[in-house]
Amino acid sequence: MTKEKNPYFKFSGLISFIICGALFLCLTRANSFAQGDNQLVSLTKQVIESKTNAELYAPFDELKVIYFKDNKYPEFVDFLKSLSLKKKEIEPFVDYYIALTRYSQLKYLEEKQNWDEYFSQGNTYRDEITAAAQKSIDATGPKDALWVYARLLLWQFHKDQQDVLAEQALSDLMSSVSEYSKESNDPLPIKNAADKLLSYGEKGKSRELYKIYVSKIISSDLKDDQLKNTAGDFYKQGNLELSEAIYDVYLERIIKSLPKEEAVAILFDIAKLFAYKNEGSNDMLYAEKIFQKIEELAGKESFDEELIYLRAFNLEKAKEYQMAKDIYVDFVQRFPADSRVEQATYKIGIICAYILRDIKCGRDNFVKLAEKETTTPYVISSLYQLGLLSQWENDLEKAKGYYNKLLEKAKEDFSESLAMAKERIKEIEESRAMEYNIKTFLDVSLKGTELVGDMQKLNLNASSYILNKGKEVAITSGAYVPESGCMQVELQYLWSGDLEKTKPPLAQLSSSPSFATSYKEPGTKVINLVVIAPGGILDRNIDMLDVY
């Protein structure tokens, strides 16, 4: 369908008005719910009087909203069919909206479990969707947004059905959007298609379309600030894919046009926007990409203590532990007086010992803290970690020494660490083995010979990584278990570390993939997990939470 004017459009306004009035009178009989609704009259009039296709999108969309609002799907189909009898030129729109209505109606029936209609009419509606959408596609072309929307709808339908045509429909959609982008100046359908693909989890394809969309909006002479604001708006809407695509273009521009210092300052702002925070949208890897760009542009020296710490923390939360450790080391060396140095040193110790399996590096960092005169949460926790490492190596005297030093330093404070240390001392004194969960974690983490794809088959996440004392936090795990059909695999969850008072209680935790807890004392809390399947150890993981 083209935008060429049809002789029909040359009719006088008076005739159009009479037709609209007559049509509306007919429609009101079938649409009693809309009686007296001036909006419906007005939209019908707009459709009938439209001179180009471009004028049809808005009234049709508004009509859809009116009918869909109350789930009046059959009524809308009747209305659309009556409408097409009056004006043949609008048929592609009518077809598209019939397909869309039946598609929404089927979804509604499934959602509301209105099964009688679903089973009696399902096939008819499905046939209508494919036939009407195809008719709309056949009657339109690369200049029409409707062409893209009908393709999009057809793909959604086949994707939902997971049928054999889904792949072809996706390929048709992608090539249609590509052709459309060359023929049309309105980029919105491209974005809408990309949004929909993203909502269906088609990240790669949506990214392709967002790129086309971005190239369209850039070619429309958008200024730098407008580009930045557009990217920011998409960030606020939670569409990070699109936001990042636009920021990429924006950054490319400002790196070339602005003085280095100015560009770097903007880059830092964007990195902070995407870096880990408890609330809001994060894309830690994108933030790191920006940090790397800053390093390329202005060197490591351009990072002050806030930014270098943020970069390390962000990498830690992205579970890029090797890089996180390196940046923490850099942070400690460059800003030894910073208040977060102890925390960073403790984290380096944990990452080295239990993630990178470099016990010497881990121990060195714990020793640095343990030898301090002061008594801080990190000094206490490091003494405990040193005790654990020695106990695991069966150097029990040394282990006991560390635990006793912890008791001596902690006095009445740090009750959580005290309780754990006392328990370990008791084990040594009674010649008992170390608690099973801790020992298993240490065995798996420090030897590491039993695992394939270490820390890849077990996710570990906290609802929040920056906590206040007493605030409840949910710890959840997700184990990737190979298919076992209807024979469910019983998993055993060996939790250890800084668990505190858990919900469910510790005794029931072995069958629970998640728990909730809270902490009375500040410091970095370490959560360890090993999951056992009937065939042996499935995987292990570790996570760190900062309590203030």
Binding site: T130, Q161, Q162, V164, L165, V452, G485, C486, P534
Partner: protein
């Protein structure tokens, strides 16, 4: 000796009589042999486009099947229903199945009362035209088995399998053999784990799994070869949970004719058909699939939910049959799980619970999304998978069968398999 004309005529007559007698005898022998019942030649044909068709009696055959295990209320899986000659549940079920359009039943394994098994196969076939897929668990549920790496265990199972083939191969109702069910999961060590000394010495868990898979699939291949020697008339299927391990089957299992997959993926089977083609290009029978009829979230029976899933699953099976241009063309049909509810399943060790239709869910599967919000996400109710429900009320000595909605919905689908494929219709119309 001079021969008169009369003598010559007499001689010719006598020779003619002998010839006629011999010809008649030969004719009667042929007729007699022809009249004796013999199994149809059943085979899989690879058609020109690379698609697969199951051929029965020289005609394509779509398996419209159901897994059949008619355990009555108050009994468990050990109950010998095969010997229930008083009530013959298969006759009641066979009639209902025939009315629904079912043409095949799948038995996971036969019974030691082999004559009774033959009776069931014959009754179903002769009365209702329903063919039988006969399977073997391959010792999967024998305690403390399985030991697929153990020669004695292998020999024991081999003997049982070959006995089964010998016993039933000449039954006209037999359609094919299925070896195992979800036994492949044991190679991963997640369920019914087994090992050998050699495997235990291997420190790399991935290599251990590969070693087990090699042993298991090579063994299946041996069985398949031996079955083919005994019986050239029926295909042999490899029973397999999902597609797990089929990369090994490709290497070690070249003599199986098809793969019989057990799949629970909710509304459809996703990319199963194409994945199989890429992994191990064999025809596919959906040997176990379906949905339960209990909403574990709302805690009530939901026949519609079951019907919804089954209709959608059958639609995808049909899309992937041979000669559907858009489909993978490697599907031969399916056997739904299952014909009737089994009330013993929730707690097989507690006879009291066999009298109760338990509503506690046994396992979780997010693809069955209507009731996934149930406690602990446990939404699959093992006792509620029947296409027909069982009533405690007895009818002719059997628990009354009450067809669920899925019975009618699938029946209608089979009568008019609408694939909602507009392109296909257009192409067909243009022919």
């Amino acid at each position: 000796m001079k021969l008169s004309t009369n003598n010559l005529v007499d001689g010719l007559k006598a020779t003619g009589r002998k010839f006629l007698l011999a010809a008649c005898s030969l004719f009667f022998i042929i007729c007699f042999l022809g009249a004796a019942p013999k199994p149809d030649k059943i085979y899989i044909k690879k058609v020109r486009n690379g698609h697969y068709q199951l051929i029965v009696n020289r005609k394509p055959y779509i398996v419209k099947g159901v897994c059949y295990s008619p355990i009555p209320i108050s009994a468990n899986h050990e109950y010998d229903w095969w010997s229930d000659s008083a009530n013959k549940p298969w006759l009641v079920d066979g009639k209902l199945m025939q009315e629904m359009g079912i043409n095949t039943v799948r038995f996971y394994q036969g019974h030691e009362n082999t004559e009774e098994v033959k009776t069931v196969i014959r009754d179903l076939y002769q009365n209702y035209g329903i063919r039988t897929i006969m399977g073997s668990w391959l010792g999967f549920w024998e305690y403390p088995c399985p030991f697929y790496g153990d020669k004695d265990f292998q020999d024991k199972v081999r003997k049982e399998v070959l006995e089964m083939v010998n016993l039933y191969k000449d039954e006209p109702g037999i359609l094919m053999w299925i070896l195992g069910n979800e036994n492949n999961y044991s190679c991963l060590g997640q369920v019914n784990p087994w090992s050998t000394d050699e495997i235990d010495k291997e420190p790399d868990p991935q290599k251990q799994k590969a070693m087990k898979a090699k042993i298991y699939y090579s063994y299946i291949n041996e069985l398949s070869k031996e079955i083919h020697k005994l019986d050239r008339n029926h295909p042999v299927a490899l029973g397999n949970g999902e597609l797990i391990g089929l990369n090994f089957a490709k290497e070690f299992c070249s003599d199986v004719d098809l793969v019989a997959c057990i799949i629970y993926r909710g509304k459809t089977f996703g990319n199963l058909f194409k994945s199989l083609k890429a992994t191990f290009d064999r025809p596919l029978l959906l040997a176990e699939f379906g949905a339960d009829a209990y909403d574990a979230y709302l805690k009530k029976e939901d026949q519609n939910m079951q019907a919804f899933f089954l209709e959608s699953q059958w639609r995808q099976i049909y899309e992937n049959l041979a000669n559907n241009k858009e489909g993978a063309g490697n599907c031969l049909g399916g056997t739904m799980f299952e014909w009737s509810d089994e009330w013993w399943k929730h707690d097989q060790n507690s006879p009291d619970s066999w009298k109760v239709h338990d509503t506690e869910s046994n396992w979780s599967n997010g693809s069955y999304y209507f009731d996934i919000k149930a406690e602990g996400n446990k939404n699959m109710n093992e006792e509620w998978f029947g296409i027909v429900a069982l009533s405690e009320e007895l009818e002719n000595g059997l628990n009354k069968r009450i067809p669920r909605k899925a019975y009618y919905v699938v029946r209608e689908f089979w009568k008019n398999p609408n694939l909602n494929n507009n392109k296909k219709k257009k192409a067909e119309n243009s022919k």
